[in-house]
């Protein structure tokens, strides 16, 4: 497996793990409070739609000329990567609250309880919430699988990495039967953001006609440089947050 293929597999695996943890929280909440049957039917329906999107868009993407594919896909990956990295940096730097799976689970539980009694037949509330949760989280994964996979003509490898992540998260969820709080979601998001930003920068510039010094080996410089920048931003944010707290503390201590 080449370095780029390893990067592809790791990025897709981590991205899929993060999204699966979030989807699992939703499905567990509606399954526990409302109906497991409706929740699982909702999951199944969402998986069918996601498979359909992958089957329809995959061949269309791989049919594009390589230059166009790299320009479009590189640009989209870079936009996506910067969004992921921005959120992860803000959370790691203390400017945005970390996502708490237990809190999200409790929120879903109380919403499910407020939604009225469960009638006979398939519970529409549990079905809709599970379907929407899996579909929305899954679309991000499909997007990453398709863009990464199509660019390297390794959609199969990307899909396998995504499938493995879903299996592991689902297995862990079934085993503990509660939200996976201990998964370091922000660290995973941070890593995925760095990889998407780096690969997006590389492919986007190539697609726009630039030539990287050293060819593919340029990625060995782009990934650490992106990581360093992100770490630097986290450190700067933490300093800023501490200074803001100190000033606020001094203001309240003043008579």
């Amino acid at each position: 497996m080449s370095g780029a293929e390893l990067g592809l597999a790791v990025s897709v695996f981590l991205a899929c793990a993060v999204e699966s943890v979030e989807a699992l929280t939703i499905v567990l909440a509606v399954g526990t409070t409302r109906s497991w049957r409706a929740a699982l039917v909702g999951v199944g329906a969402a998986v069918v739609v996601l498979a359909g999107v992958t089957a329809a868009l995959g061949p269309a993407l791989t049919a594009l000329p390589l230059g166009t594919l790299r320009l479009v896909v590189g640009g989209l990956l870079l936009i996506f990567g910067l969004q992921w990295l921005r959120k992860a940096v803000l959370r790691a730097g203390g400017s945005k609250a970390l996502r708490d799976e237990l809190e999200a689970y409790e929120r879903e539980l109380s919403a499910a309880r407020r939604a009225g009694a469960v009638g006979g037949g398939l519970d529409p509330y549990a079905f809709t919430i599970a379907f929407k949760g899996v579909l929305l989280e899954g679309l991000e994964v499909v997007f990453i699988v398709l863009t990464f996979g199509a660019n390297q003509h390794r959609i199969g490898l990307a899909a396998a990495a995504a499938g493995l992540a879903v299996l592991l998260v689902t297995g862990a969820g079934v085993a503990v039967h509660r939200p996976l709080q201990r998964v370091p979601e922000n660290t995973l998001k941070f890593a995925v953001g760095v990889m998407l930003t780096s690969f997006g920068t590389f492919w986007g510039a190539e697609g726009a006609g630039a030539h990287w010094p050293g060819g593919d080996a340029a990625l060995l410089a782009i990934v650490p440089a992106t990581l360093l920048l992100a770490f630097g931003l986290v450190a700067a944010l933490r300093r800023r947050t501490r200074a803001a707290h100190r000033i606020a503390g001094e203001a309240t201590a003043r008579p």
């Binding site: 640009g75 910067l82 959120k87 510039a205 726009a208």
Partner: protein, 73 residues
């Protein structure tokens, strides 16, 4: 389906795509498009252009994070 309902669905779909791709900060998306355009222009003129997109991505991330972390940002 009535014309109003169709328009509502199209608007909802467009909002979803916008939110999905552009996300929390539209400046990032606009900056990336501008960076790709600048790279293509320079590369097309025979000027070394590989550095444009990494610089652009770094500056965009710094500005976006800094703006979002401001007390009223």
């Amino acid at each position: 389906m009535s014309r109003t309902a169709l328009a509502r669905r199209i608007r909802a779909a467009a909002m979803f795509v916008w939110d999905f791709i552009v996300g929390d900060d539209w400046r990032l998306a606009l900056g990336v498009v501008a960076g790709l355009g600048a790279t293509a222009l320079l590369a097309g003129s025979g000027i070394v252009a590989w550095w444009v997109l990494p610089v652009c991505a770094g500056v965009l991330l710094m500005v976006s994070v800094w703006r979002a972390s401001e007390p009223n940002g």
